[in-house]
């Protein structure tokens, strides 16, 4: 939403707005805390070092998704950048994004070999029911030649139990769910995702598969 209003403002003052990102309030905010938010493979391994206080001091009031990709040694804070109907797009300063719907990872862009898409709606429905559920999700990938490939995954969601978790120094009472997905021809599970869900349905923390190349993404949702 932010971005679209930004573009809208540009239209009203044609001469004043350029493509220069520095004019954009979003980038101004993110750039001011770049050191804290964006730590990507700086030698000593990736770490997310910002705190709730440092975020507040930097004037970041919108939600932040702490995103760790252990396989790529990435730890980055992504800012709530755009709402496209029920999908939230989270974006880093260098333009990498992930999209979530109801806290479920839908796609990644700019992480190398990205997650093209993994259907999220069946998981959202299953989480709402709160109990044991079985469903399928369609995984889409673009192969090395540049062709779209689809695979149907068969999944099971099971409640694990209540857990109290900590997200950037704030405690949440959650219920933990584990999702196990298989594909035809896969021996065991293709992946196992974990979701920590608050009483209001917010997924505060999760560990979600983002395709064979990226592996798992560890997500934590920060609201100041």
């Amino acid at each position: 939403m932010k971005r679209s209003i930004g573009a809208g403002l540009c239209l009203l003052v044609l001469s004043a707005c350029g493509q220069a990102v520095s004019d954009d309030p979003f980038f101004t905010a993110v750039n001011s805390i770049r050191g804290g938010l964006f730590n990507r493979d700086t030698g000593g391994g990736a770490a997310f070092t910002a705190t709730r206080d440092s975020l507040r001091e930097s004037g970041i009031t919108s939600p932040v998704m702490i995103t760790r990709v252990p396989a790529r040694d990435i730890a980055v804070g992504l800012i709530d950048y755009q709402r496209n109907r029920d999908v939230t797009v989270w974006r880093s300063t260098d333009g990498a994004t992930i999209s979530t719907a109801g806290g479920i990872l839908l796609n990644t862009r700019g992480f190398g070999t990205d997650l093209h898409s993994l259907e999220s709606a069946p998981v959202e429905t299953a989480l709402l029911s709160g109990g044991l559920a079985e469903y399928s999700r369609v995984f889409r990938a673009i192969d090395g030649e540049g062709a779209l490939q689809r695979a149907r995954l068969f999944c099971q969601l099971a409640p694990v139990g209540p857990e109290r978790i900590d997200v950037l120094g704030r405690a949440y009472d959650t219920r933990r769910f584990r999702e196990t997905c298989t594909a035809d021809g896969t021996g065991g599970a293709l992946f196992e995702n974990d979701y920590w869900r608050g009483p209001d349905g917010t997924i505060w923390k999760s560990r979600q598969w983002a395709g064979p190349e990226l592996g798992y993404l560890e997500l934590e949702r920060v609201i100041n």
Partner: protein
Amino acid sequence: MAALVLAAAMLCGQGARADILGRQPVGPQPTLNFFGAPGLMDMPSAEVMPDGEFSTIVSYFGGVTRNTLSFQITPRLSGSFRYSATQDLNLAGFSTYFDRSFDLRYQLLEQRQGSWLPSVAVGLQDFVGTGIFAGEYIVASRSFGDTLTVTGGVGWGRLGSYNSIGAPFSATRPAFVPGDPGGEIAYDQWFRGQAALFGGIEWQPTDRLGLMLEYSSDAYSLETSRGVFDRRSPWNVGVSYQVNPSLRLGAYYMYGSEVGVNLAFSFNPRRPLTPMNHQPSTGPIALRPDRAENPDLWTAEWVADPTARPALGERLAEALAEEGQDLIAYHLGPYDAEIRIDNTRYIAVAQALGRAARVMAEFLPPSIETFHITLMDEGLAISTLTVRRSDLEALEQEPDAVEALHSVVGLTAATPTREEDLVAGLYPRFDWSLRPYTRSSYFDPANPVLMNVGARLRASYEVRPGWRFDGALTYRLAGNLDQARTSASALPPVRTSGPLYNRNDGVAIETLTFSHARSLGNDFYGRVTAGYLERMYGGVSAELLWRPVGSQLAFGGEVNYAMQRDFDSGFGFRDYDVVTGHLSTYYDMGDGYHIQVDAGRYLAGDWGATLSIDREFRNGWSVGAFMTLTDVSAQQFGEGSFDKGIRFTIPVSWFTGQPSQQTLGSTIRPITRDGGARLDVPGRLYDRVRDGHLGNLDDQWAQVWR
């Protein structure tokens, strides 16, 4: 050049050959034999390589070296081109006998899980060369588990020469004639003469290690009779090792007397050396503000502001330039907008279009709902994609965004570019580049590879869209191509004089042309070119092409008047000129296979036709073969009997993972003669037009959101 880069890349290895879910293939892959075919050592098996696999194999034993390029053309059909050297054969006046040969193999039956039936393949070895390796076979292979493969077959020709079991089909088989011009398709000898049985087993205890034992039905009669090596036993044993997914090495003990080695490098267009890294510099699509809440932002009043159009155009041009796209023209209406772009970065036009659409969404006023994006190629307008902005906004985050967007866009042939839409001050356009170049010649008996390297200065001056001057100067820095020899010819030396053009040291005018290409409406495109068209010829060329935007079929005609240029590559001409031209039929067979037939008159004045078949991959890889038959007899043509060759193109992005339209490639002819020689005219229409048409766009559509 391409070969060097390939060699460097091979040593680096590649990622695993997993499928999209990361699943590893079960069991080890087939070993490539001394002929570059799936098999054991000297004998083939009925296995196939993964579809599209492109392999180079170097093997040596007992004085026989074989360099083979193999390609898995379809999941079942594969082909090879081989350049071999037999030391001390003392044949046809050569101490070391060099030979070029082609093979084809087809897997008739594939072993299926749960079935006892084996895989069965039929193959033709050296079927158009001079026939020194000529042999045919039918072979069956059965795998047991993931580790053991048993192979048995029956061979003819060379493969039927040891311990023959008789001649099941026909007793007579024409003998190999040393020094024969060769090159004729030897269908009169296939599966004729004596046959013999061969077989072997391969045990692959791990995914990397293979142990092999084979019984060879090749008597090597010619070689042993001339003392090349001593064949003491029909049994060969060996061990092979898969160093990385690209490289397999083998060491063998052959025929009871010789040590053999084999190096096989395999690539697959579908396994890039570096995965594509798509930086989303445009970010997600910019969404328009909610209309009910912000009605003011949605009015079309901005149209009345005379500064709006140029200001928006400037911003579009800037943002498109970041995406490697030149904005040529644009038209902004209150509710729809068109941009005309020349994509200079992305191989996939869908990716260029997707990025252009996002740039439009970023900058254009909310009242503009319909986007038209026209693809241009050097001033030639090709096709226009129409997409609704609300569809882009609504679909980007859908899991099926690729398929869903495909069903709501439209593609039409482009209308000519209107003068008033051109970006102000863009024309005349001047462009130049200075890059290294290489030029090589293969298969000279004294110097199998000759190469020049140097610098090439290109420049272009485009007066108006499609009206261009183009030129290229080359300067040789180093090389030994001047040692290439010319050969005698019964025809005008239209191509055999090629080596004479490599002997000057100074600056050479490679090309210098004036051309005009345009869309003529009704799915017709036209081009005229005049000047120094190629290194060896200058003249005038005119072309007409018909291809509807959604068609798989196209027809074209080209007529040229060509004069042979002086050997110094200056402005002068020699005393040879010819009217040449072709009628062409092009057909897109689907799945990346393309076929082309050109019929007409060639440079030496001979009449005939060329058949070309290419397989193109979505990421820009292409592998193909061609052959030309004309009214020139095999005798007049000389060695090789008729013109034929293979060609391949590899995109640089496949190596680097960075978007680029640059490619490496080569056309390899076993021998260059004067029959069936075509003029090389720059800027031919078909590939330029097809690139922006529906078949190609559909193939590459998955990249539209990248």
